[in-house]
Every structure is written in structure tokens, then in C-alpha cells.
Amino acid sequence: MTARVVAFAVVIVALALFPSVAGNYPVKLLQEILIWGVFAMSLDLLMGFTGMVSFGHSAFFGLGGYVAALALLQSPGALAGLVLPAAAAALVALVVGFLSIRVSGVYFIMLTLAFSQMFFAVTFQVQRLGAEDGIVGVPRPRILGVDLAGATAFHLYLVALLALLAILLWRIVQSPFGHVLRGIHENEARMEAVGYPVRRYKLLAFVIAGSVAGIAGALYTQLNGYISPDAFFWTTSGEALLMVIIGGTGTLAGAVLGAAAFILLQSLVSTYTERWMLILGVTFIVFVLFAPGGIVGTMRGAARTARAWPRRAGAARRALRRQA
């Protein structure tokens, strides 16, 4: 347990210190990775742990982003930057979740997709929300007396939030509640038979995931000072799914790794070749076909194989001796 805590602390410190060894652009990429990582982690809670595949998760990301944009333009503070977006996302998640959880499987996917597209349609048309161009010029908030317009302050703020949210999600997943969610993922009928109010658990998971996604969206607005209807489009949900799958479903850390892989592919590879989409598509297909555990799953598998070598080597030697 302590080893895990230490490793986590090391990673967080490394992330916090990154700006001291790298220029603005790599730091910006890292910050985007952190934000998308949070978004993907929230989806992982829903998908990897509870087994609810949503193609409409971008609804909450976009909602958090827009609420933050509108609120921060009025008064840049913690209320506008974090609390309101999370609350708005949670509320909408409650309504959407309540309606969507009544169906499952493909229908759940379709319904969640429809909801996020509705948000897209509205923000795309409405002039007061900036229509197709979105909202620009959003200031960063002042939180606890610190003006986050400064680069270092903002970076530490992002890393701190990532750490807090990661710990929060980790605790949720490890808690009895999290175990029930996993039970539902494995066999919903059994959980119902045992007496758990499955729908209520699923709804709660949906709301938690939605609010965390909303925070991610708010952070996205704060990073770029900008939000547009693209945040709601169904391909944004798809990209988050991609990140979770590539990183490793049901691992939380995998979501962040997947986000890193996607963003680095999109930004780095696109500087060298125009064919980054092709590479992304092929990578994704390869992962789905051959590495369904994602990066983390593959690494765990490799680690297990590595640990098993002494045993296997010993068995092989014995087998050879027997043959001789």
C-alpha cells in the first residue's frame, strides 16, 4: 500500500515540476493531457467499473465548460470556475441518467448520444452562447487569493486538482460502493436478486462521473480561455472512449495514459506527418483486437510474465533434465 502511495506521490511531484525542465509548449500539452485524463477517468468509472457505455459523456464535459465560461466572464472565482460547473453537470447528469438508465446496452448508447447531440444542436445555433464560434476571452479565476492567470500557479492548480480527483475516484472505486458497482458490471441480475437497488447505484455512478466530467470541462475552458460546441459533439465522447480503451479499461491510471497517447499522437505526430488520423485509427483497431487490456493491461501482463520467468525457467530446466 505504501509503495503505491509513494509511487503516486513521485508521479505528482514530477508533474508539478515539469515546467522547470520544459518549455511552454510541452507544458501546455501536459496540461491538456491532465484535463483529458480527468475526463477519461470519469468515463472509466462509468464504463470500466460500472459497465455503462455512454456515447454522450461529452454532454457533461461541454456543459461544465460552458457554465464555467459564462460564470467566469461574470466573476472569476472558485464558485464560477469549479463549483457551479460541477453542480450544473451533476444536476443534468441526474436528469439524463434518470431517463437513460431505464434502458441498457445499445439503447443506452443511443440515448446518451442523442442527449449530447441535443446540447450540441443548441449551442451551435444560439447566438448568445456564441453559436458556432463558441465563447472566447474567458479569464482564469482567482482561487484562495491566488490569481491563476500566472503560469506556475495555474499549473500547480491543475496538478493539485488532478491529484485530488484521482484520489477521490480511487477511494470511490475501492469503497464498498465501488465494489457494488463492479458487481453490477459483472452480473447485474445477480446483484438485483441479492437485493441491491441497482438502478440507484447506477444513477449515483452516472452523476459522479458526470460531475467530474463537468470539472474537466471547466478546467478546459480555464486552460484555453475558450469553449466551443465541438466539446459536445459525439466524436468527443468517442475520443474519450478511445483514451480509456487504449489506456486500459477499469484501471483509472490507464485513462490518463490513454489521454497522453491520444494527445501526443494528435500534436506530435501531426507535426511530422499528415497521416496522424490513420495512425490513430490503426492503433485503436490493433488495441481492440489484440490488446483489449490497453496499455496498463499489457504492462500488467508483461509484468506477470516477467515475474513468472524464474518459475517457468525452472520448470523448463527440469523438463529438459527429465528428457535427457
Partner: protein, 292 residues
């Protein structure tokens, strides 16, 4: 002089029909694939796009629209069968999500390959010389090509109905859609039927793309844009139902057309609301199988 209201409505109805027919060709393939293989083929829009580009290439090479109309779906259908055989079949034992995600990956792949070969700019596809003017029917003026699209689409719908309801192959497909395991139990090589149906669905999507080409030209993003519409049609009509596809596409076609003409600001929103309502109130759609 402004035109009398009846002619106005009739003209818009024709517009809605030509659009609905395109949606029908697309949604039929998607609904069959779902009914049969339990896969929501997100790459369906990509087959539509590939059809349009295949049509572009064939017309450029031969100058003959009708040849392209026949050949392009065959080519794309073959590609679909290849994809199914190599990538989807290994995933049958896995949860359906994996298959859906696989098709999502193919969206990126196909879109970029098309950009690579043809570049990102929009390409015009000429309509056949036979249908390049406009006609006036009952006071409504409409391009003759769109009349062709309506007639052609409805003919294909009739042919499909005949195929599915009246032939042995059709009954195999119907059986497979109803219960794939049982059909396998009857000794039919269901896997081969799956490959065939997937390819057939892709071919229909490509046919829609070729037909749509002279109206809306070809560009790489055309697949992802039409996909959501197609999903809506399939959901409203009922997953797995041919009749549902026809009903759904005609309804959505008219809804969107009249929405654009009379309620422009809410046009986009309306169809998503319709979709949500259907899933909530009648998830099996208009003609789908009742859910267990």
C-alpha cells in the same frame, strides 16, 4: 410572384422524399447489420463516403454514371466483407462493445485514407446527362435528378422487400435477424451469412453515397455527419426492421426538411428530441421487436 401554399408544401414534400430515400438506403444496411450481428456499425457512414469517392473515381475513369452506380457498391461491399471477415469475426465472443469500438476506429482509418488519395478538398460529382435539368410538377420545381433519386430509391426498397420476404436467402436473413443461434443450429453457415449481410449493408451505404454525390459532392467528413442521422432513423424505425427503416427514413426526411423550411432555428434540435422520445417511450421503435 409568391407560389400558392399547396404547391409549396408539395415541393417541400418532394425534397423531403429525395432526402428520405438517401437515408433509407443508408439505414437499411445499418439496421440489417444490427439485427443480424448485434453490431452498431459506426463505420457505416464511412462506407457511404467510400461509395461517393468510388463513384467519383469510376466516373472520372469511364465517364459513365450508370456504370459507377453498379460498380461502386460492389467494390465497397467487397471491402465491407473483408473488414467483417478479418476484424469483426474474431470479436464475436467478446462483448458487443468491443465490436462497436472497432468500427469507431475504422472511421478514422477510412477518412484518412480517402484524404490521402483524393486530398481534403471537396470534389464535385456530375449528375448523369439524362437528369441534369429541372422539372415542374403541379407547380413545384425540382431538379429532375431528385425525381430520379426518389423513383430509384423506392424501386430499391421494393426490390429489397421482395428479396427479404420472398426468397430463400431472405428467409435465412430474417431467421438470422430473429435468432442467430437457432439459425446456426439449423445447419446454416451463419458466419458466412454474417459476412454477406455486412458486405450487403456496406454496399447499400455505398449506393446511397453514389446517388448522393451529384447533390452534395464528396468530401472526407461526409461520413461522420450523416451517421448520426442514420442512427436516429434506425432507432425511430426500430433496430432490425426493414419496414422500420423505410418508415423512419421517410418520417425523419420530412421532419428535417419541413423543420429547415418552417422552423429553421430548431430544425437540428427537433430530430434529436424525437430520437430521445422514441428511446424513452417506445425503445423498440415503430416496427422493431419488443425488447425482452
Amino acid at each position: 410572384m409568391p407560389v400558392p401554399i399547396l404547391a409549396d408544401v408539395f415541393a417541400q414534400t418532394l425534397n423531403g422524399l429525395s432526402y428520405g430515400v438517401l437515408l433509407f438506403l443508408l439505414s437499411v444496411g445499418l439496421t440489417l447489420i444490427f439485427g443480424m450481428l448485434d453490431v452498431v456499425n459506426l463505420a457505416h457512414g464511412s462506407f457511404y463516403m467510400l461509395g461517393a469517392y468510388a463513384g467519383l473515381a469510376l466516373i472520372a475513369a469511364t465517364g459513365n454514371f450508370w456504370l459507377a452506380l453498379i460498380a461502386a457498391p460492389i467494390v465497397v461491399g467487397g471491402l465491407g466483407m473483408l473488414v467483417e471477415r478479418t476484424c469483426l469475426r474474431p470479436l464475436y465472443r467478446r462483448p458487443p462493445l468491443d465490436q462497436i469500438l472497432l468500427t469507431f476506429g475504422f472511421i478514422y482509418l477510412f477518412e484518412d485514407v480517402v484524404k490521402w488519395i483524393w486530398g481534403g478538398r471537396i470534389r464535385s460529382i456530375p449528375s448523369p446527362a439524362l437528369f441534369s435539368g429541372s422539372v415542374t410538377l403541379f407547380g413545384a420545381t425540382i431538379p429532375s435528378y431528385r425525381v430520379f433519386v426518389i423513383v430509384f430509391g423506392l424501386t430499391v426498397a421494393a426490390a429489397l422487400w421482395a428479396l427479404i420476404e420472398r426468397t430463400r436467402l431472405g428467409s435465412i436473413i430474417r431467421a438470422g435477424v430473429f435468432d442467430a443461434e437457432m439459425t446456426a443450429g439449423l445447419g446454416i453457415n451463419v458466419h458466412r451469412v454474417f459476412t454477406g449481410v455486412f458486405g450487403f449493408g456496406a454496399a447499400l451505404a455505398a449506393l446511397s453515397g453514389v446517388i448522393a454525390g451529384p447533390i452534395q459532392s464528396a468530401y472526407p467528413a461526409m461520413g461522420t455527419e450523416i451517421l448520426v442521422r442514420t442512427l436516429i432513423v434506425v432507432v425511430v424505425g426500430g433496430l432490425g426492421s426493414l419496414k422500420g427503416s423505410l418508415a423512419g427514413s421517410l418520417i425523419i426526411g420530412q421532419a428535417e426538411t419541413f423543420g429547415k423550411a418552417w422552423l429553421p432555428d430548431t430544425a437540428m434540435l427537433i430530430i434529436y428530441v424525437v430520437m430521445a422520445l422514441v428511446v424513452l417511450l417506445r425503445p423498440q421503435g415503430l416496427f422493431g421487436r419488443p425488447l425482452k
